[in-house]
C-alpha cells in the first residue's frame, strides 16, 4: 500500500504557473485524491488541451495526452473507446473546454463516455494575457474587451444539466475538503462527470479573487436532491451566491463505450483483439 507522504503521482516538476496561481492548489488536491483513491497508475490517463490549466497533466507522474486547444474531449473519448479499462481524467481550462471546445463539450455530454472532466474556471484567458473567456462576467474590462464584455457568460452547469450530463458539480479551491470529496465521487462515477472548479487568476483577474469566491459562494443546501433535474437546473442558475457541491446526478445512463456492441459483454481493449482470416474470408465471400 502506498504511503501518503511519497505520493507516486507526484513527479516534482518545474512548473510554468505564476506564483500564487490557483492551479497549485488544484494540483495539490488532485494529487491527494489520486493518492487516496489508490488508482492503478498504469491504467490512469490524463487528457488536456492547451492553456495554463492544460499543463496540469505534465505535472503529475501519469500517462497523458496533452493535445490541441479545445480538443481534449474527443481525444479522451477515443482513448476510452480503445480501452474502456482505463481511468480517463480530462483537466483543462474554461477557455479550452467551454470556448474552443464548446461543440465537443455539448456532444461529449450527449455521448456520455466514462470521463471525469475537471475544468479550471478562472473566468479569464491567462496564457494569452487577460482576454475574456466564455465565463467572464458581463461588463468586465479586459485588454481585448476594452468597453467591457458584451456577450452573456456561459453557464456550464446549467448547460450540462440541460443535456442530462450524468454528474454535474462545482467546487472551489477555497473549500479544499469539499473539492477533494467531489472529485473523488466524480472519478468513481460511471459516465461523463463535470467538475467546474472556481479558481483565481492572480495575474489577470482582479475581480474574481479568492476573496470573491469566498464571499460569493455557498454550499448546496442539504435538502437538495441531485436526482431532481429541474431542481438541479434551478440551482445551477443561482449566482447570488453561486452554489458549490453536486448539483445533478443521473445514475444508470449508459456510457458511450458500453454502447459499442463489442464492449457489451467484454471490455477487452482493442489492442488485445484481432480479426482472423476466417472472419475476414466470410465478409469477403459475400462479394463472390
Amino acid at each position: 500500500m502506498k504511503e501518503q507522504t511519497a505520493n507516486e503521482f507526484d513527479n516534482r516538476p518545474e512548473m510554468a504557473w505564476c506564483p500564487g496561481c490557483g492551479n497549485y492548489a488544484i494540483r495539490n488536491l488532485m494529487l491527494q485524491v489520486l493518492g487516496e483513491m489508490r488508482l492503478e497508475r498504469e491504467n490512469l490517463v490524463f487528457v488536456s488541451g492547451i492553456g495554463q490549466a492544460a499543463k496540469a497533466p505534465q505535472y503529475y507522474n501519469v500517462s497523458y495526452f496533452n493535445g490541441l486547444h479545445g480538443r481534449a474531449l474527443p481525444a479522451a473519448t477515443g482513448i476510452k473507446a480503445a480501452n474502456p479499462r482505463l481511468t480517463v481524467v480530462v483537466e483543462s481550462g474554461d477557455g479550452d473546454m467551454y470556448g474552443e471546445g464548446g461543440n465537443h463539450f455539448l456532444h461529449a455530454i450527449r455521448r456520455n463516455p466514462d470521463l471525469t472532466v475537471i475544468v479550471h474556471n478562472n473566468m479569464v484567458y491567462g496564457l494569452t494575457k487577460g482576454q475574456a473567456s466564455p465565463t467572464t462576467p458581463l461588463g468586465t474590462v479586459t485588454p481585448a474587451q476594452v468597453h467591457g464584455v458584451a456577450a452573456a457568460p456561459l453557464n456550464p452547469l446549467a448547460l450540462a444539466i440541460s443535456l442530462d450530463a450524468s454528474f454535474v458539480a462545482r467546487v472551489s479551491v477555497h473549500r479544499p475538503e469539499v473539492m477533494k470529496a467531489i472529485v473523488r465521487q466524480a472519478i468513481e462515477h460511471r459516465g461523463f462527470s463535470l467538475v467546474d472548479v472556481f479558481q483565481s487568476c492572480v495575474t489577470f483577474n482582479k475581480v474574481n479573487t479568492l476573496r470573491w469566491f469566498t464571499d460569493n459562494t455557498s454550499e448546496v443546501p442539504p435538502g437538495h436532491d441531485p436526482s431532481d433535474r429541474q431542481a438541479a437546473f434551478a440551482m445551477a442558475l443561482r449566482e447570488d451566491p453561486w452554489p458549490i457541491g453536486v448539483l445533478y446526478r443521473h445514475h444508470g445512463r449508459q456510457t458511450f463505450e458500453k454502447g459499442q456492441k463489442m464492449y457489451h459483454a467484454d471490455d477487452t481493449p482493442l489492442f488485445r483483439r484481432r480479426i482472423d482470416d476466417a472472419a475476414m474470408r466470410t465478409l469477403i465471400g459475400r462479394y463472390r
Binding site: R41, E42, V45, S63, F65, A75, I79, H104, R273, I284
Partner: protein
C-alpha cells in the same frame, strides 16, 4: 456497336426511381453469367428527382474504365436523352416509355402499363430490368434467381409480382434482340466465378479491416461516407468501434486518442471535412501518433459539386497541417488497390507513426468491378505496440527516428504525448538547440525509412517509349485502356500509386522520355507540378478535366492522340 466483345448499358432516371435496383441485379446476374463487369455512376446532389446515370460495361475481359459510348440506353424518365447529349450515337439502342424518349428515336416499351397490368406501377423497374436481360441474352432463370435474392425479405406477393414483371420484360427483350439482329459477341470467361464483385467503397472498408482497423470515426460527407456506413454494417459481425462525431475536428482527435490507447482507427471524409482536420493532422505529426485518413475527393472549392469527381485535393493532402513532419499518401488506381492499400495503410501508419492518406475520389469509390479474390489469408496486421517499463521514453531518440510506441494500460511506464515541442519523455520543453532541433530531426529522419517502403510506379505500354504519359489515382484504368486502344509505338504510361513520398525510380522513368504528358482529373495538374519540383522534369503537356466527370476512354484516345 462500340466493341465486339462486350456492351455498355446506361441506366438513366430520377433519384429514388430504381436505377440502383436495376443496376444491382444486372451487374450480379451478368457476373453469374460469366461476364466481367464494370459500373460507374454520376448523380445529382438530392434525395429524389434530378437525373442520375449508371454506366454498366459487360465484357469478356476485365476492364476498369469509364466510357462515353452507349450500346443500350434505358431511360426511366424524360430528360435523360437530352442530358446525355452527344453520348447517344447512331449505334445506341434507346429503350423507354414513349414519353421518356424526349421525342427522339428509340424503342418505346410500355414499362408502366405492363406493371399496372400486374398490379402496381412500381414494378416497371423489373419490367425494364427484364427487357435488358432478354436483350443481352442472359439466362432467364438466372435473372429470376437474382431478382428473388435482391428482394429477399419482402412480401411474397411483392416478390411474385416483380418476378412476373421481369419475365414479361424479358420476353420483350428477347423479341427485340431477334428483331434488331443484336449480337454483342459476349462470351463467358471461365475465371469470372472466382472473382469478387464489389465497389471501391466496399473494397476500402474490407481492406481496412484486413489491416487491423478496429475503430472508425466520421462526420457524414459525400463521397467519403460510404466507407463509414459500410464499416458500420460490418460492425454487426466484427470488433469495431463506430462513432459518428459532431464535426471533423472531433473526428480526427478521437481517432488520435484511439490510436494513442492502442486502437487502429480510420477517419473517412471529403475535401471540406478534411480541411477541418488539418490541425489534427499536424498534431499526429507532432505526437507521432499514427492515423489513417481516407480522403474521397470531389470538386471544390468549398462545397463545389458535392456528388461529382475530381483529383483536386492532392495539394491539400500533401500540405495539410502546419509545421514540418513526414506523411504518406497512397492513391489507389483500381478497386483491388482500394483493398490492398487500405490494408497496407494501417501497417505503414503503425510502423512509421505518421499520418497515412488514402486518396480516392467519387468515381473510384462509387465504381463496381469484378476483381480477383484477395486470397486465403487476407489479414495482414503488423502491430508494433510495445510494453513499457519504468522510465519509458515515448520519444526516445533513435537512429531511424522511430521510437518504440507504448500505450497506456500496457506496462508500468508513463506514455506521455504533447502537442508542444517535447523531450524524450514527452514533457514540454523550451530547450531550443538541446531538444527542439534533435526532436525535429528525429521526426523528419523517418522519411529515410518510409522512402524505402514506397510503392513502385507501374509502367505499361512500349518499354522503349519516347512519349510517357503520367497519371495517379483513379485515372489508372482509363489511361491504360486508352493506351491499348491507341496502340502507338513509342508510347507508355507510368502510373504512380504512391504520390508521397515519391519513389526514387520515378525520376529515371521521366528522364528517359523525350516528352511527358500528364493526365489528371483536375484543373491545374497538381501531380505534374509535384513531379517537376521533385524530379526536375518538365511537363508542358497536361490533359486535364475538371467538369466533375471522370475521363472516358474515347475522350482520352482523342486527346492523347491529338498530342502525338
Amino acid at each position: 456497336m462500340n466493341n465486339q466483345r462486350g456492351c455498355t448499358v446506361v441506366l438513366g432516371g430520377e433519384a429514388g426511381q430504381g436505377v440502383q435496383y436495376i443496376e444491382s441485379v444486372l451487374v450480379r446476374v451478368a457476373k453469374e453469367s460469366g461476364f466481367h463487369v464494370f459500373a460507374d455512376k454520376e448523380y445529382m446532389s438530392r434525395i429524389r428527382g434530378g437525373i442520375n446515370t449508371t454506366v454498366i460495361r459487360i465484357h469478356s475481359e476485365r476492364l476498369q474504365a469509364h466510357v462515353e459510348g452507349i450500346d443500350v440506353l434505358v431511360v426511366l424518365n424524360r430528360g435523360v436523352v437530352s442530358r446525355l447529349g452527344g453520348r447517344v450515337g447512331t449505334g445506341t439502342l434507346i429503350i423507354g416509355e414513349e414519353s421518356s424518349l424526349d421525342g427522339g428515336e428509340g424503342v418505346a416499351v410500355p414499362f408502366a402499363a405492363i406493371a399496372l397490368e400486374i398490379g402496381r406501377k412500381i414494378y416497371a423497374n423489373s419490367v425494364a430490368l427484364g427487357t435488358v436481360c432478354g436483350l443481352l441474352g442472359i439466362d432467364r432463370d438466372r435473372m429470376a434467381d437474382q431478382v428473388g435474392r435482391q428482394l429477399s425479405g419482402k412480401d411474397d406477393e411483392v416478390v411474385r409480382a416483380n418476378l412476373l414483371a421481369a419475365t414479361r420484360g424479358y420476353d420483350l427483350g428477347v423479341d427485340l434482340r431477334r428483331d434488331k439482329g443484336i449480337d454483342f459477341g459476349l462470351k463467358p470467361a471461365a475465371d469470372v466465378a472466382e472473382h469478387l464483385l464489389l465497389s471501391g467503397t466496399e473494397a476500402l472498408a474490407l481492406g481496412a479491416l484486413a489491416g487491423g482497423c478496429n475503430a472508425v470515426f466520421a462526420y457524414p460527407m459525400t463521397p467519403g461516407t460510404g466507407v463509414f456506413t459500410q464499416l458500420a454494417q460490418f460492425s454487426r459481425e466484427v470488433d469495431l468501434v463506430v462513432e459518428q462525431v459532431e464535426d471533423e475536428i472531433g473526428v480526427i482527435n478521437m481517432a488520435l486518442g484511439a490510436w494513442y490507447a492502442g486502437g487502429r482507427a480510420l477517419v473517412t471524409t471529403s475535401g471540406g471535412g478534411f480541411a477541418l482536420m488539418t490541425e489534427g493532422v499536424s498534431l499526429a505529426g507532432m505526437i507521432e501518433t499514427p492515423v489513417v485518413i481516407h480522403l474521397g475527393q470531389r470538386p471544390g472549392p468549398a462545397t463545389g459539386l458535392p456528388t461529382r469527381t475530381e483529383q483536386g485535393d492532392l495539394n491539400l493532402a500533401l500540405y495539410a497541417g502546419h509545421g514540418e513532419f513526414p506523411r504518406i499518401i497512397l492513391a489507389p488506381g483500381t478497386i483491388e488497390q482500394c483493398f490492398s492499400f487500405a490494408r497496407k495503410a494501417f501497417n505503414l501508419a503503425d510502423a512509421f507513426q505518421v499520418p497515412v492518406f488514402l486518396l480516392t475520389d467519387q468515381y473510384l469509390v462509387d465504381s463496381i468491378a469484378t476483381i480477383p479474390d484477395f486470397g486465403g489469408n487476407p489479414v495482414e496486421i503488423d502491430q508494433r505496440v510495445v510494453e513499457t517499463g519504468e522510465g519509458y521514453r515515448r520519444y526516445r531518440l533513435t537512429a531511424d527516428g522511430i521510437s518504440p510506441r507504448g500505450i497506456p494500460g500496457y506496462g508500468s511506464g508513463s506514455v506521455c504525448v504533447d502537442s508542444d515541442e517535447h523531450d524524450e519523455w514527452g514533457r514540454i520543453t523550451e530547450d531550443l538547440d538541446g531538444v527542439r532541433v534533435p526532436m525535429a530531426d528525429k521526426r523528419l529522419r523517418k522519411l529515410d525509412g518510409l522512402r524505402r517502403e514506397v510503392l513502385d510506379p507501374e509502367l505499361t505500354g512500349d518499354p522503349d517509349y519516347s512519349t510517357l504519359i503520367v497519371g495517379w489515382g483513379s485515372t489508372c484504368g482509363v489511361i491504360r485502356e486508352a493506351l491499348a486502344a491507341l496502340a502507338v509505338p513509342g508510347l507508355a504510361f507510368l502510373f504512380c500509386p504512391q504520390v508521397w513520398p515519391l519513389p526514387e525510380t520515378v525520376a529515371g522513368h521521366l528522364a528517359r522520355a523525350r516528352r511527358i504528358i500528364a493526365v489528371e482529373n483536375n484543373q491545374a495538374g497538381q501531380f505534374a507540378d509535384l513531379l517537376q519540383r521533385e524530379t526536375g522534369a518538365w511537363i508542358a503537356t497536361r490533359i486535364l478535366k475538371y467538369n466533375g466527370m471522370p475521363f472516358a476512354v474515347e475522350e482520352l484516345v482523342a486527346r492523347i492522340g491529338g498530342e502525338l
